[in-house]
């Protein structure tokens, strides 16, 4: 595939849109002919980022919007999930496995750990009161390579 292929998606911060978001990204990436495992990794990472935006970024204020930008370039897909919510106070702490700021909601504190493990690159930037931006990249080891 030559050049870049981009898409942008903006949707209400409602929990029912978590499934929509991961399925939409999976459909966009399917043109790279990913394996089921790669597709599942992407869906899980997107689900984590979008859930974080809804629960932590917007504290379940459904009038807010979550934005996903995805770009396919060569055999790589980069995905950015952003919100304009409250931001993360201590990024270092938030990225620790099992840390959660909302234990009463039975959050496992594994979101960032999963994103880091399931994707090839992962970065997060946040500003108190200015929102959070999660950038992730994954190389799709296209099944086509098997036949070359």
């Amino acid at each position: 595939m030559n050049g870049m292929n981009e898409m942008t998606l903006s949707f209400s911060a409602r929990s029912e849109n978590e499934a929509f978001a991961r399925v939409a990204v999976a459909a966009f990436v399917s043109q790279l002919d990913p394996t089921l495992e790669e597709l599942n990794d992407l869906k899980t990472a997107v689900s984590e980022a979008v859930t974080n935006a809804i629960i932590h970024g917007y504290e379940s204020d459904e009038s807010c919007k979550v934005t996903i930008e995805a770009t396919i370039e060569g055999d790589c897909v980069s995905i950015t999930v952003s919100d304009n919510g409250r931001g993360i106070e201590d990024l270092e702490l938030a990225r620790q496995p099992l840390f959660t700021s909302k234990p009463e909601l039975e959050r496992s504190g594994m979101g960032f750990t999963i994103m880091e493990n399931f994707m090839d690159r992962f970065e997060v930037s946040s500003l108190m009161g200015g929102g959070t931006r999660v950038m992730m990249l994954k190389r799709i080891e296209s099944k086509k390579a098997l036949y070359n």
């Binding site: 929990s15 978590e18 499934a19 599942n40 899980t44 689900s47 859930t51 594994m110 999963i114």
Partner: protein, 117 residues
């Protein structure tokens, strides 16, 4: 795609079969259904049967961990069975296998619990 939770009481064991996608949106239903069944029912142990669970993320881990604590506080055991590769990976990553035993199917899960009780 949503989530269906089928609950079955078998002797002192609560079998919970999850079908569909377990995420933040669907976790609450699973939480309330299981919470109530564990509180009201006569079951001591819980089997999580995940053969038809097509998707799970960290919200699923949270609700499973929550029920594990609940079952454990009542002196029961919680085991999982029929775990697909992607859910298996999540369990591994989060260290859940340190506290939950895994079985191939419901039958071997049941017999493992019958030895316990």
């Amino acid at each position: 795609m949503s989530l269906q939770a089928e609950l079955e009481q078998y002797r002192n064991v609560l079998i919970v079969r999850l079908r569909g996608e377990l995420d933040h949106h669907t976790a609450d239903v699973v939480r309330y259904k299981m919470e109530e069944a564990i509180l009201r029912g006569g079951s001591v142990h819980v089997i999580l049967s995940l053969k038809e669970l097509q998707f799970m993320d960290s919200s699923g881990l949270g609700v499973i961990l929550g029920r594990y604590k609940q079952v454990k506080s009542k002196g029961g055991k919680m085991v999982v069975c029929d775990v697909n590769p992607s859910v298996h990976r999540l369990f591994e990553l989060s260290g859940l296998f340190k506290i939950l035993t895994i079985h191939d199917n419901e039958r071997s899960a049941i017999s493992s619990l019958e030895v316990v009780s």
